[in-house]
């Protein structure tokens, strides 16, 4: 049972890291444009693009 004394803090710490990451992302406007985020991963080369 003494294992619990390590495992519970470890589990909580990992959970808190996740929560902290989420709150940071929220603060950094990562959730402002979910449709855009899905499309931005398709950007490839640099340099200006031709007009359409």
């Amino acid at each position: 049972m003494s294992m619990l004394l390590y495992l519970i803090p470890v589990a909580l710490f990992l959970g808190l890291i996740g929560l902290g990451a989420f709150l940071w992302a929220l603060r950094a406007n990562q959730f402002e444009d979910l449709d855009g985020a899905a499309q931005r991963i398709l950007f490839d080369d640099d340099g200006p693009q031709p007009p359409r």
Binding site: L4, G15, L42, F43, Q49, P51
Partner: protein
């Protein structure tokens, strides 16, 4: 010149808007501007816009938000300016409209973000505490000793107390606001139950007892916050689209200074006495008098009248009318004058107050529910002390168990989940649900009142006597008409878009068109213009005459065309048991014809805005719940005073702001669709609430006799919540069934 086909359902004509008045100065010294951009569909568009604009000198940031179709630009004011950037965007192939900074501020969604933060904290707490609770429940059947259980309870307490302190705030704030207003909202029993449960569990933990309900309070908040957040997001999305639609109409005015110089001013900043230039295709920015120019004004949004109206110097003109044929210069009417717009706003303010008194179903239930629940808990507490003779700690424990079991988790989810599914389904069909209680009110509607112009009809004129006109005559007329922006001429040109325009067409505003051909002069215009002054009209709608060089004349008569599915929609609404009426500002003969074509037997013509309100109040006093569908400025007060209201996206901005629903596209069927979805949702809401009550009726006796343990509470609560959610999701299936049957 126009941003015509904005894929979100553009206003018919949005003139080029000068972006300069919309630029705002950031604290870091840069200028910034938010633009609504047309035609962003794919990653390629985003990349093309961002890369090309960022590459321009002086541009600090160009960032597209695909969800809202808005582009945020910021730049060094010394290096470039708004005109250059908007020009560059246009050269890339994207039309844009500027956004006023106050409507596009980045923290407009502060409320949604606050909910999401609470949701994250509650989720973290619920999951970690559940991890410990499962251990405790398993331990109850095996060998867990009291010390380990105590440790688990203490860890749970450490997690849950700060989480509850954070995540309870949206509920507590709403419950307090309700109490201040003297009413009991659903948030009150939620707040009381969560706070009492947490406090009691802490007490139990200190005492070393077995009954700690930390997992219940955390997961309760988690579930409820999910419902609340989704509800908010669905409405925020609909409101963002509605806002985009409004921006298309909001514009700048071109002010002429005394020395003749022009500069752009936002409409809201116009001062009385200013001289304003109104180009062709723009809406008049303010009420006023014409100083120079002759033109035709389309007042259909204002009065419901479809025939254009000719104006000249000294004529009084009204904001919201569309300038069709020639530029006008007008003087803005002095403040305090009795302007039409001011009158409409005053009527709206007076009419909208009734709407605010509507109490949502969930809150109506809460008025009964929360006193009953709190009294039941109190009775349980007293009963255990005096009848059973239990110690007060144990009695309090049982009373808290009653509160937990009755905590309206399922009730709190019953409405929002249905609401989210319904507004998602409507959004896909181009119907924006703007009001939070719109579904409830629409489901109860038993009478529909339509406006004519722009609502039943498209507000677009079409040739009525096409079958009586020779093709050569039509071709000759179109070859002239193609040169003009007059609505009647455009209606002709739409019929034969491929016919070439004659080379030398002269337009005489208010009279007609003329061109020299090999045979002589060809004229198109009013009867007088064609030298036919005393021809009896015999037709109420607008008309055009064509005079050939050899003297023969042909008459073209026009009428406002109904939406293609108008009659079918009216029939469908009647089949659903609704009474349909037509109230219009147009002339009786025209309204009667439209009513007959659409299959409406009750109609009234020549209604002023106040007449429409009077009719709605008359219906309301007969106990009718009226759905008002209208688009014009003259409908706005009626929209605000009706029980529930819809407006097409082509309507006046003030009407869209007043309406509960905005529908896009040319199909009137959206009205029927919205009604069906609202009725289905309401059925599901009632089912959900009934299920929650049945569950309470079963569980409360168990809680009162004291056999509810934390495990039972957790199972009972989550099963009822999941049941309600699953039932709500059936709304997707109900919709799909109906579509396959069609």
């Amino acid at each position: 010149m126009t941003v015509n086909a904005l894929d979100i359902g553009a206003a018919e004509t949005a003139p080029d808007i000068d972006p300069a008045p919309f630029v705002s100065r950031d604290p870091d010294g840069r200028d910034s501007l938010v633009l609504l951009v047309d035609g962003i569909h794919c990653a390629g568009c985003v990349q093309r816009i961002e890369k090309n604009l960022s590459a321009l000198p002086g541009v600090h940031q160009a960032r597209v938000n695909v969800t809202t179709k808005r582009l945020r630009l910021s730049w060094e004011p010394s290096a470039t300016d708004a005109h250059a950037l908007v020009g560059a965007l246009t050269r890339l192939g994207y039309e844009s409209v500027p956004f006023a900074a106050e409507t596009a501020s980045p923290d407009q969604d502060r409320e949604g973000r606050r909910l999401l933060r609470c949701l994250a904290v509650a989720g973290f707490a619920a999951m970690n505490v559940m991890l410990l609770s499962v251990g405790i429940w398993a331990g109850a059947f095996s060998d867990m000793d009291a010390a380990t259980r105590g440790l688990f309870h203490w860890v749970s307490a450490l997690i849950v107390m700060p989480a509850v302190a954070c995540a309870i705030r949206p509920f507590a704030a709403s419950a307090l606001a309700g109490l201040k207003a003297g009413e009991m909202r659903m948030d009150l029993p939620i707040t009381v139950a969560v706070l009492l449960t947490t406090a009691m569990s802490l007490f139990e933990t200190v005492r070393g007892g077995p009954h700690a309900y930390f997992d219940a309070s955390a997961s309760l908040l988690f579930f409820l916050l999910i419902g609340r957040y989704l509800d908010r997001q669905a409405r925020a999305k609909a409101c963002a689209v509605a806002e985009n639609l409004l921006v298309l109409q909001g514009a700048t005015a071109t002010v002429l200074d005394l020395d003749g110089a022009q500069h752009a001013v936002r409409v809201a900043e116009l001062q009385p006495g200013m001289t304003v230039l109104v180009p062709v295709g723009a809406r008049l920015p303010a009420d006023g008098t014409v100083l120079r120019g002759h033109s035709d004004l389309d007042a259909s949004l204002l009065t419901g009248e479809t025939a254009p109206q000719a104006v000249g110097p000294k004529d009084q003109v009204f904001a919201g009318t569309l300038n069709r044929t020639a530029p006008l210069v007008l003087r803005v009417a002095a403040a305090g004058q009795r302007t039409l717009l001011a009158e409409i706003v005053r009527l709206m303010d007076a009419a909208g107050q009734g709407r605010a008194r509507y109490v949502r179903l969930a809150d109506r239930i809460a008025r009964v529910y929360s006193p009953v629940v709190h009294l039941a808990a109190l009775a349980t507490f007293l009963g255990w002390i005096f009848l059973v003779g239990a110690p007060w700690q144990q009695s309090l424990m049982v009373a808290v168990a009653v509160l937990i079991i009755t905590c309206p988790c399922a009730l709190g989810l019953a409405v929002p989940v249905v609401q989210v599914v319904a507004s998602g389904r409507l959004l896909k069909r181009g119907v924006l649900l703007k009001a939070a209680d719109g579904l409830e009110r629409l489901a109860a509607a038993d009478t529909v009142v339509f406006d004519k112009t722009g609502t039943l009809s498209l507000g677009r004129l079409k040739l009525a006597n096409l079958d009586k006109i020779a093709d050569t005559d039509l071709a000759a007329a179109v070859s002239l008409a193609a040169a003009s922006r007059h609505p009647l001429c455009q209606a002709l040109t739409r019929l034969r878009p491929k016919i070439a325009m004659l080379s030398d067409v002269r337009e005489h505003p208010g009279l007609g068109l003329a061109a020299e051909t090999a045979d002589g002069e060809l004229r198109l215009g009013s009867a007088a213009w064609c030298g036919l002054a005393d021809v009896p009209s015999g037709h109420d709608g607008p008309e055009l005459w064509l005079r050939h060089a050899h003297g023969g004349a042909v008459r073209f008569v026009f009428e406002d065309s109904l939406r293609l599915d108008a009659a079918a929609t009216i029939a469908a609404l009647k089949a659903r048991g609704l009474t349909v009426e037509l109230l219009s500002g147009d002339r009786p003969a025209v309204v009667e014809a439209a009513a007959r074509a659409a299959g409406i037997s009750h109609w009234r013509a020549s209604c002023a805005p106040a007449d429409k309100i009077a009719r709605l109040q008359e219906l309301a006093s007969q106990g009718r719940k009226v759905l008002m569908v209208g688009d014009g400025l003259n409908d706005a007060p009626a929209l605000a005073s009706a029980y529930v209201s819809m407006s097409p996206a082509s309507g006046a901005d003030i009407s869209q702001a007043a309406a509960d629903y905005v529908f896009q596209g040319e199909r009137l069927d959206a009205v029927r669709e919205a009604l069906d979805v609202a009725r289905q949702s309401q059925r599901l809401v009632v089912q959900n609430i009934a299920a929650a009550f049945v569950y309470n009726a079963l569980a409360v006796p168990l809680a009162v006799i004291g056999v509810v343990t934390p495990l039972v509470a957790a199972i009972a609560m989550s099963s009822s919540s999941i049941g309600v959610i699953l039932n709500s999701l059936r709304l997707y299936r109900l919709g799909a069934d109906r579509e396959t049957r069609r």
